[in-house]
């Protein structure tokens, strides 16, 4: 989990800084080029309706990717988010189905609460019992999916109350609710990471856990909290997805962990921890969303979409590595 990032060599530091700036601009540049190219390629791409669509389609993966950024910054990984999303979705959905639905706010909070609880279990196993994050969350991927199927009987939960569906389908002043939620999550995550002591701790733990510990940072609590935040955000994403698809689907979120990790990696956050930001994750998520939307608009086969997405991930990691390795 530890990594060597700082260097005493000033020449190397300068070169690294130059590469750093380049790689960061590279991602923004890639997004701008993509955006402009699609604007020319399809006349409706820039329409308000389409941009609203893109943001709404991005919001679920974006929320997951922001939580994933926290986890990866601490040097960890969470493979369970897709299953946790489904579990939280069916729990929330089960509360607002049928003739006597519960208050939608209650279902909303229940979904997030279940997610936070599952995240806390991951966090305890990883931070307190020192089991590798990959293994713990791989186990949770399977357990949470099993719990989802058990809870829902393997069937979708239909007939969700209209008040609950507002979380996925509603608008506030012309902006879809999922987009507003995503924006709030991003702003809070950004402020916490950049301007609070806790944010600095996250970077310190992922940068060098030993020196973080010796400088008095409660490393266990920091790691634990990152997984709990991830779990809560997976729950939030599950609630929104459920409200959007109008039924709680037990098979929802299959493979979503990979898209969330892809957004983080495309955004240049280092998989070994300590380096990265939610702003670039946001751009990473937007790149994935815009590619998928643009290729749909242009009528390109989804087979190409998968190839293009995969190629971008690999290129992003290549850029990332050139930033961190010796020149």
């Amino acid at each position: 989990m530890t990594t060597e990032l700082s260097s005493a060599n000033p020449g190397r530091a300068r070169r690294q800084m130059a590469a750093d700036i380049l790689s960061k601009y590279g991602i923004v540049l890639a997004f701008v080029i993509l955006f402009v190219a699609l604007s020319f390629a399809h006349q409706n791409f820039l329409s308000t309706a389409n941009l609203t669509n893109v943001l709404r389609q991005v919001s679920i993966n974006g929320i997951l990717a922001i939580g994933m950024t926290y986890v990866i910054l601490t040097g960890g990984i969470d493979l369970s988010v897709g299953s946790v999303l489904a579990l939280c979705g069916v729990v929330a959905g089960s509360l607002v189905t049928g003739a006597d639905p519960a208050n939608p706010a209650l279902a909303f909070l229940a979904g997030i609460g279940v997610g936070a609880l599952v995240g806390a279990i991951n966090g305890i196993l990883i931070a307190r019992f020192k089991v590798t994050a990959f293994v713990v969350t791989l186990g949770m991927l399977s357990m949470a999916r099993g719990a989802t199927l058990l809870y829902s009987d393997g069937r979708p939960i239909p007939n969700l109350s209209p008040e609950f569906r507002w979380f996925g389908q509603g608008f506030v002043m012309g902006v879809p609710v999922p987009v507003i939620v995503f924006a709030l999550v991003f702003i809070i995550a950004f402020i916490v990471l950049r301007y609070t002591v806790y944010g600095r701790w996250i970077y310190a733990v992922g940068g060098n856990i030993k020196s973080a510990r010796t400088s008095g940072i409660p490393t266990r609590s920091v790691i634990f909290s990152a997984y709990m935040i991830m779990g809560a955000l997976a729950g939030l994403a599950g609630v929104i997805l459920t409200a959007r698809t109008t039924s709680a689907l037990p098979q929802a979120g299959l493979g979503y962990e990979l898209d969330a990790i892809a957004a983080v990696v495309i955004g240049g956050t280092s998989l070994v921890g300590g380096v990265g930001s939610v702003t670039y994750t946001l751009i990473g998520a937007l790149i994935i969303g815009v590619i998928s939307n643009g290729l749909d608009l242009l009528g390109v086969s989804s087979y190409y979409q998968q190839i293009i997405k995969g190629a971008i991930i690999v290129v992003a990691v290549l850029i990332d590595r050139s930033r961190h390795s010796n020149p």
Partner: protein, 343 residues
């Protein structure tokens, strides 16, 4: 340390031993009390249709009264997993295997192995490509489903206009055959143009995004949406509604008759055709029993003509049985929903 480890191992061994003995007794017990052991290898218990199928199978009268010991094995949408489950079922010496294959071609080989081991295999729902290997099979014709599906949309459109097609996972028998039926219907209606045709992998969330994007790229051109299953049709319907369009103006149709689709038909927002899980599952069990017991066996499922149903039993000796599709209409949707509550 060594001692605790040793004692833990001993404990584990003792535990394993006890459970094996218990399992052994269980097996002996069931073999004595039951006439038949049937294994059902299904696609995946993550999907609603397979769950309905398995529930229906477990509600077969002979399963309920203990004459048949039915084991449902979850293939987890993985052809290799199913192949392994066949090996297990063959080694365990089941009397018959009912098979809902994940893959149309990869399913041939396991069935061949079971046949060589002398275990009859009954096909149900989806089929393998080499149907000669089956003892018998019972399914609904997916080509016909595709045709009914496309015709329902075209009829609502008044026989002309532009459609988009949302396809299932490419290469699966349902995708291939339903498309064949859709194309037959399109060939018969030259005034209908296909604007877009893409897969959404049977997924509601994928279809939602796809159709949202099409509604942008194709503006007001889309007059109808043909989805190869209900999950995707519901995703398409949500996209239509989210775009502020009237579902009555842009007809959407799917296949399967999942609960959400029945509810949407009830609201008058889409069209669907029910795939009869009860008939396919319980019918398959009767066919398995006919294979085990021979010609004198009396079927128990309600679908057979001898029990007041629509399908000809033929003494259980035919090789192929075709379960009719049930178009979901405003008239029968209440009954179907009531039935679903009890499933």
């Amino acid at each position: 340390m060594a001692k605790t480890l040793l004692s833990r191992r001993l404990m584990l061994a003792a535990l394993a031993g006890t459970s094996m003995v218990a399992a052994g007794f269980g097996l002996v017990g069931t073999a004595a009390a039951q006439e038949a052991r049937i294994a059902a290898v299904v696609q995946s218990l993550d999907t609603e249709f397979n769950v309905l199928w398995a529930d229906a199978a477990n509600r077969h009268p002979l399963v309920e009264d203990g004459t048949i010991a039915l084991t449902v094995l979850d293939g987890r949408m993985d052809a290799l997993q199913q192949s392994n489950q066949f090996d297990t079922a063959i080694a365990e010496g089941y009397d018959a295997i009912i098979f809902v294959p994940v893959d149309i071609n990869a399913g041939n080989d396991p069935v061949q192995r079971a046949m060589e081991a002398g275990i009859p295999v009954i096909g149900s729902n989806t089929l393998i490509s080499d149907t000669d290997l089956y003892e018998s099979y019972i399914s609904s014709n997916d080509v016909e489903a595709g045709r009914i599906l496309a015709e329902s949309v075209i009829e609502k459109m008044g026989g002309s206009g532009n459609v988009v097609i949302v396809e299932g996972m490419i290469g699966q028998s349902a995708q291939v055959q339903r498309l064949e039926g859709i194309e037959e219907a399109l060939a018969a209606n030259p005034d209908v143009t296909v604007l877009e045709q893409r897969t959404a992998n049977w997924s509601r969330a994928e279809a939602l995004s796809l159709v949202e994007n099409w509604l942008i790229s194709r503006g007001g051109e889309i007059n109808g949406i043909i989805a190869q299953n209900d999950e995707m049709a519901i995703g398409a319907l949500e996209a239509v509604k989210a775009a502020g369009l009237d579902p009555a103006e842009v007809p959407v149709a799917g296949v399967d008759g999942v609960t959400d689709a029945l509810l949407a038909v009830q609201r008058g927002e889409m069209m669907s055709t029910l795939q009869d899980a009860d008939a396919q599952a319980q019918g398959a069990i009767d066919l398995a029993m006919a294979a085990i017991e021979g010609e004198g066996y009396e079927p128990r499922a309600a679908v057979w003509d001898v029990n007041g149903g629509e399908m000809a039993w033929d003494g259980g000796q035919s090789q192929q049985y075709s379960v009719p599709w049930v178009p979901v209409t405003a008239d029968n949707v209440e009954d179907l929903l009531a039935m679903r509550q009890n499933q």
